[in-house]
């Protein structure tokens, strides 16, 4: 009966790890935004964020990636790519979006005064503002032509709060 016994041993269940890194490297083109959002949302869901926070993380990531796709590279550049790194641990999700394009100086980008912005009917210039509003921490590390990074953090503490509220 050892043969039968063997068969009945449980399939190995490898426990979910709530710590770990998820890396994505994809072509820097807007038709990949949907793919990225789907991926980031699933990881955020795994970690245990509530639907609201998953939506925020998804949108912040979209804005960061859209900026790479629109601003980082010259139009003529070929094989341009974009990296998304998601680090998860028990307390937080860290999202790092990296490009290898021309970079910019984030300190010279003023945060829009929303009232003035709306009064002037401006187009664009809301991406970084949204990222800062949606995430708990946002910082840039710019090395033009080498590696330009935006790092965004969302704390999972909110989970408990939102679980209580809902």
């Amino acid at each position: 009966m050892t043969n039968v016994d063997k068969k009945h041993k449980k399939a190995k269940s490898i426990r979910p790890k709530f710590e770990g890194e998820y890396k994505l490297r994809i072509p820097s083109a807007t038709d990949n935004l949907e793919l990225i959002r789907g991926f980031v949302a699933k990881v955020a869901e795994k970690v245990g964020f509530c639907p609201d926070d998953i939506g925020k993380i998804e949108l912040a990531c979209d804005e960061a990636c859209t900026n790479v796709m629109k601003h980082a590279y010259d139009k003529k550049s070929k094989n341009t790519s974009l990296d998304v790194l998601i680090k998860i641990d028990y307390q937080k999700l860290t999202l790092v979006v990296t490009d290898h394009g021309k970079g910019f100086n984030p300190n010279t980008i003023p945060m829009p005064n929303l009232k003035e912005y709306l009064a002037e009917l401006k187009v664009g210039g809301l991406g970084i503002y949204l990222m800062r509003t949606l995430m708990d921490e946002v910082d840039y590390d710019i090395k033009p032509g080498v590696q330009n990074r935006v790092r965004m953090v969302k704390y999972l503490i909110d989970r408990k709060k939102s679980e209580l509220v809902q």
Binding site: T30, L33, R37, T66, L121, V123, L126, L130
Partner: protein, 114 residues
């Protein structure tokens, strides 16, 4: 799979654009085309029905910002209806409800044009 859909129905001098799927930097040009077509036809009274829209990013919001001035200068408006709470929250975060007429449903939007 259709990523983004926009369908138009004209109700007398008002045009309704039904948008669905996701509105991001990739699909925003499709909405721009639809609005540009209305403007080319001198139809400035526009309702955007968000019922089937599941996602919007700032690139989508930018489309509305890009046309609102021209449209209002021509006695028109863009009114918005049927937003899910998720979509509304993005508009709200940026203070857009002070700038745009965002209503619960299409009937209310039609009334507001009277």
């Amino acid at each position: 799979m259709e990523n983004f859909t926009v369908n138009r129905t004209d109700k007398e001098d008002i045009s309704v654009l039904y948008i669905g799927g996701f509105l991001d930097a990739h699909t925003a040009p499709d909405l721009e085309n639809a609005i540009q077509n209305l403007i080319d036809g001198e139809r400035y009274k526009i309702i955007v029905n968000f019922n089937d829209l599941t996602y919007i990013s700032s690139a989508g919001l930018g489309v509305f910002m890009g046309y609102i001035e021209l449209i209002r200068n021509n006695d028109g408006d863009i009114k918005m209806s049927n937003m899910s709470p998720k979509i509304f929250r993005v508009f709200d975060l940026l203070g857009f409800p002070t700038l745009y007429d965002i209503v619960d449903d299409e009937i209310k939007a039609l009334e507001n044009f009277k």
